[in-house]
């Protein structure tokens, strides 16, 4: 009876519309990024835009496939899917091939498949499944440990594949934990610590210690002066102090030189224009030269002459900035904002805790990719090679983000079915 109306009737067309728009913008800019006079057939399979077209068609088939699967399947098989991709992550370390210094690729036919991309989806499923269980509460220590382990285990495995960027993405799921009741101090720490870390590298130690002392003094002055509070302030102060010095130490002694360079470049302490600074500087020049209206489709020169590296993947936003100007860039940012807010509103209207938290997981993962990728091209965030969802070139990431989103769209359509 409910089947009669068809599932396409009940899916959230706003999100699907945003999805398709982003995918189309992506293809257009990949075309522009690799465009040259000799190859300009849009379906030329030797060129990236030709391949991306195939990737998109496959992604749409994949999306439709997910929409006809019973939504309960995903919550029922969440653990299985999680286990499967965890297994794949481990396998790929031993049998995968290396692409750009990262080992996490399977070669299937002519394409590379990166299990790490799909592992994000699997982790969100497992996390939502676990937190959706009735007797789980993040107020309990045991639940907190298990929830953290669900996130950290795949993150660690991906980290071992030398894919630091993708590993960090998992940490964004703290937003899901926060929504599920985790104390606000943890996500706060996720924001405060990086700031403190940057200050640790920029400011002289003496100044920083003085600032921390003053902050502690301020807290003490306004506090209720109970022993417990005082101890807390002292602990926080010592913790911050320890953190500052360990950041300094690890950047100078533990990080690999190229990672250290990226950080120094970001902090404006290095101007190595052929190395790490080159990418960011070229990226800013390309975006800056777009001005308000942009140079127009296919008219970019900075991106055209390949001054910007990895321009169809990690630096695709440069092409947008150069050819479509502030206007086009702002539209793209706003489209993403619309997608994120829409996803959260959708999540809130879910009846099951599983689908609500899954929705939050989707929003967090997509948001983090957006924030890091565009932040990097704008020189606000260190150069971490992660793709811009739906826009960057690449089959693996497009398919994984499509699956991630459409599982949620499917869950959401189900919420009508229950009415």
């Amino acid at each position: 009876m409910r089947e009669d109306k068809g599932i396409f009737y009940r899916i959230d067309w706003v999100v699907v519309g945003l999805y398709l728009t982003l995918v189309f913008i992506g293809w257009l800019n990949i075309y522009a990024a690799v465009y040259n006079d000799t190859h300009n057939q849009i379906a030329d399979l030797s060129q990236k835009y030709g391949k991306q077209m195939i990737f998109i068609l496959a992604a749409i088939l994949l999306a439709m496939g997910i929409l006809i699967i019973d939504p309960k399947f995903f919550s029922q098989f969440a653990w299985f899917i999680y286990g499967f991709f965890l297994f794949m992550l481990v396998i790929v370390i031993f049998s995968g091939r290396e692409v750009a210094g990262s080992k996490g690729w399977f070669a299937i036919g002519g394409f590379g498949i990166q299990p790490a991309e799909f592992a994000k989806m699997a982790t969100v499923l497992a996390l939502a499944k676990y937190l959706g269980t009735l007797d789980v509460s993040l107020a309990k220590f045991r639940s907190l440990v298990i929830a953290s382990a669900i996130i950290l285990v795949p993150a660690l495995v991906v980290f071992l594949q030398h894919d630091t960027g993708s590993a960090i993405v998992f940490l964004t799921l703290v937003i899901v934990l926060y929504r599920a009741g985790l104390t606000g101090f943890v996500p706060l720490a996720f924001i405060v610590l990086p700031v403190l870390g940057i200050l640790a590298l920029v400011l002289p130690k003496v100044v920083l210690v003085a600032v921390l002392l003053m902050a502690a003094g301020g807290f003490y002055f306004f506090s209720n002066r109970k022993l417990r509070t005082n101890l807390l302030i002292i602990a926080a102060f010592m913790g911050a102090l320890g953190f500052v010095f360990s950041v300094d130490y690890s950047v100078n002694h533990i990080l690999e030189p190229h990672q250290r360079n990226r950080i120094h470049v970001l902090l404006g302490q290095d101007v190595d224009l052929r190395g790490a600074g080159y990418n960011v500087n070229q990226s800013l020049i390309a975006i800056g030269s777009g001005k308000f209206f942009g140079k127009g489709f296919l008219q970019g020169t900075q991106t055209k002459y390949n001054f910007v590296p990895e321009q169809s993947t990690d630096f695709i936003f440069c092409t947008v900035g150069e050819e479509w100007g502030f206007l086009g860039s702002a539209v793209l940012v706003i489209l993403y904002m619309g997608l994120f807010i829409r996803l959260i509103l959708m999540a809130e209207r879910q009846r099951s805790r599983f689908s609500r938290l899954y929705g939050y997981g989707v929003a967090s993962i997509l948001f983090f990719h957006f924030a890091i990728n565009i932040g990097m091209t704008l020189g606000l965030v260190p150069v971490i090679g992660i793709p811009l969802p739906y826009v960057s070139y690449g089959g693996s990431s497009l398919w994984a983000f499509t699956v991630l989103l459409f599982i949620f769209i499917r869950q959401d359509s189900y919420h009508y079915e229950l009415v």
Binding site: A180, L284, G325, F326, I341, L378
Partner: protein
């Protein structure tokens, strides 16, 4: 209980929006507010212009400049920026036809349409003048300054080697090199590449669509300057090298001279050779092919390092030394010779007529085959060894300590190992352990499978003059500072023969020149110690060999001379060696008649030379 967290959605949405607004603000700042990142309203582009450093210079041992640089220019093209070029005008300037122009454009485009490719390499300063005036007519083309290798003396081409564009394989392996960069391909240019090349710099310049240089990017703040290459001080004596090449005119062969006390190579002559300037600049490719295709003269073949000869009688010196070390030969040991050494099956290793019996000095002086066959046999059949194989292995080890049978490790690429046959070789040839001293007796007189390079022969002369040790021969004595030392070559190699066994051998070598097979090499003022040799050549006339050093004590020069298809060692190799020694030690040559005879001798395609007939006073060896 879960509902209480529902308002956290506002905090999360708020956080997302905050980041979105920060990014919009940043975009506004980068794209509209500041023009720090905007080059201009035009389609200006940045061009990274590589600053190529001058390669290091090379000087000879007397401070004369051997290799230097001259300014040259590469015409570069960026295919995408080429707009309606006046093809004919450009072709006219470069002296190419339309087809060639299109060819080159095609090649450049297939490499990259937006990266520069070399369109015409190494344009000389004179031709550049014409081009520069007209360059503004051809958008997409620009000129990159480079340097061109130049050689003051037209000699030692093989030792210098040459440079050329780095190959795709090199670029793949070594991130320093980019397409169009030059790299040493042979000779010292290759072995000292890292030192000679210096460090590239980078200038970032702003160009507008009309290919006009709008100045440096942000006042050159990001430019890096290039660092010139380090100079090399060669041990080559340019005059000696030049003289040696003169003597080898119209002959195939080589001359290698070494300063024994340091291992410094004074000259390496390989003949026929070529003018090193032929392989510099844009004429290289054409000339290289031409030289490569010359299969008669094979001018690219470095005989001094890459040719291997049976050493003939020069190897008797090694027999004499190893025999004494093994305790089977003493200076007083006398062997008779009745026209040779009988092999037992009616055959014999022949010998020329001479007084008999002889002691060791006499045997070296006269170069008696029978004597050294007996010495060799007594080593291999020595009773303290349990088998022929064991004796041979011990012999081989001692012989290889002379630097034979393996690369010496000199600083010019391409050296051959030479060959001292391994026991397994004889196993294969005769069956496992089915060979005896008599089977391999030809080794005694430096014939058979044994192969030694002219460089190894010269090193043999050097180590004998040193009484048992050598430094690895090398052509670069100092890097950067004239009085510094080339650290890579300060390891003293000890030969497995004690110092005390050398004097008697040297005595014999002195007698070779004063009254033996090498009398032609005699020089009034200086005692030359030498040894002739004749390498059997199954393809034609025997090769003439001579090794020598002088003076007898504290030798200043050790030398090997090989003249192919020239007969016995005394005919050509000995007089040439003697002239070289005279030239090096006295700086002038007084024996003009001998010099003239050597220079004019044409052993490649000439008639039978004069000296062949007037050889009454020359003994065979």
């Amino acid at each position: 209980m879960e509902r209480i967290y529902a308002d956290r959605k506002y905090i999360i949405i708020g956080f997302f929006l905050l980041i979105g607004i920060v990014y919009l603000a940043r975009l506004f700042y980068v794209q509209i507010l500041v023009d720090k990142y905007i080059l201009s309203a035009n389609n200006n582009v940045l061009r990274y212009v590589t600053q190529y450093p001058a390669r290091g210079l090379v000087f000879d041992r007397n401070g004369k400049l051997l290799v230097y640089n001259e300014a040259a220019y590469d015409l570069m093209v960026i295919p995408r920026q080429v707009k309606n070029p006046d093809t004919m005008a450009l072709c006219h300037l470069l002296g190419i036809d339309r087809e060639e122009f299109l060819n080159r454009m095609e090649k450049a485009s297939s490499y990259s349409t937006y990266r520069p490719s070399i369109f015409e390499a190494q344009i000389t300063r004179d031709n550049y003048g014409f081009l520069e005036e007209k360059l503004f007519l051809f958008p997409g083309f620009y000129v990159q300054s480079r340097t061109l290798r130049k050689y003051t003396y037209k000699v030692a081409a093989h030792s210098f080697g040459y440079i050329g564009e780095a190959s795709p394989e090199v670029i793949e392996k070594n991130s320093y090199y980019r397409p169009g960069d030059y790299i040493g391909i042979n000779g010292i240019e290759k072995s000292y590449e890292d030192i000679l090349r210096g460090k590239k710099g980078m200038k970032i310049r702003v160009f507008d669509v009309l290919n006009r240089d709008k100045g440096s990017f942000r006042d050159g703040r990001y430019d890096t300057t290039s660092v010139a290459g380090t100079n090399l001080y060669s041990s080559i004596d340019a005059e000696l090298q030049e003289y040696g090449e003169l003597l080898m005119t119209n002959k195939k062969g080589s001359i290698v001279a070494i300063e024994p006390q340091t291992g410094e190579i004074l000259c390496i002559i390989t003949s026929p050779s070529y003018d090193p300037n032929l392989l510099a600049g844009n004429i290289r490719r054409k000339n290289y092919t031409k030289l490569l295709q010359d299969t008669v003269y094979m001018p690219l073949f470095n005989r001094a390092l890459m040719a291997m000869y049976p050493p003939g009688s020069t190897f008797k010196l090694v027999d004499a030394l190893v025999g004494q070390q093994e305790g089977v030969l003493f200076p007083e040991t006398r062997y008779g010779c009745q026209g040779g050494f009988p092999l037992g099956n009616g055959k014999k290793v022949g010998c020329h007529p001479h007084p008999s019996p002889l002691d060791l000095v006499g045997a070296i002086q006269i170069s008696c085959n029978a004597y050294f066959c007996r010495v060799f046999k007594s080593i291999i059949d020595k009773s303290s060894y349990s088998s022929t194989r064991q004796a041979y292995e011990s012999w081989r080890k001692e012989v290889m300590s002379f630097g034979f049978g393996k690369k010496l490790g000199i600083d010019i690429p391409g050296e051959l190992n030479g060959n001292i046959p391994s026991p397994s070789y004889y196993d294969k040839y005769h069956g496992l352990n089915r060979w005896r001293s008599m089977t391999i007796i030809s080794l005694a007189i430096g014939q058979g499978e044994i192969g030694i390079t002219p460089m190894q022969l010269a090193n043999q002369a050097a180590l004998i003059s040193n009484r048992g040790w050598y430094y690895t021969p090398h052509v670069i004595r100092a890097i950067g500072r004239k009085d510094s030392l080339n650290e890579a070559y300060n390891v003293k190699h000890k030969v497995l023969v004690d110092e005390r066994y050398f004097e008697v051998v040297i005595e014999g070598m002195a007698d070779v020149v004063t009254g033996g097979t090498g009398r032609v090499a005699q020089l009034d003022s200086i005692v030359i110690c030498g040894k002739t040799g004749t390498a059997q050549n199954p393809h034609g006339k025997n090769h003439s060999l001579f090794i020598a050093f002088a003076p007898r004590n504290n030798a200043k020069i050790a030398i090997s001379v090989v003249v192919e298809n020239a007969g016995t060692g005394a005919l050509w190799a000995a007089p040439i060696a003697s002239l070289m020694i005279e030239k090096y030690l006295n700086r002038t040559v007084k024996r003009k008649e001998l010099e003239e005879r050597m220079v004019s001798g044409n052993l490649i395609n000439g008639k039978q030379p004069e000296s062949e007939r007037g050889q009454g006073n020359i003994l065979p060896d």
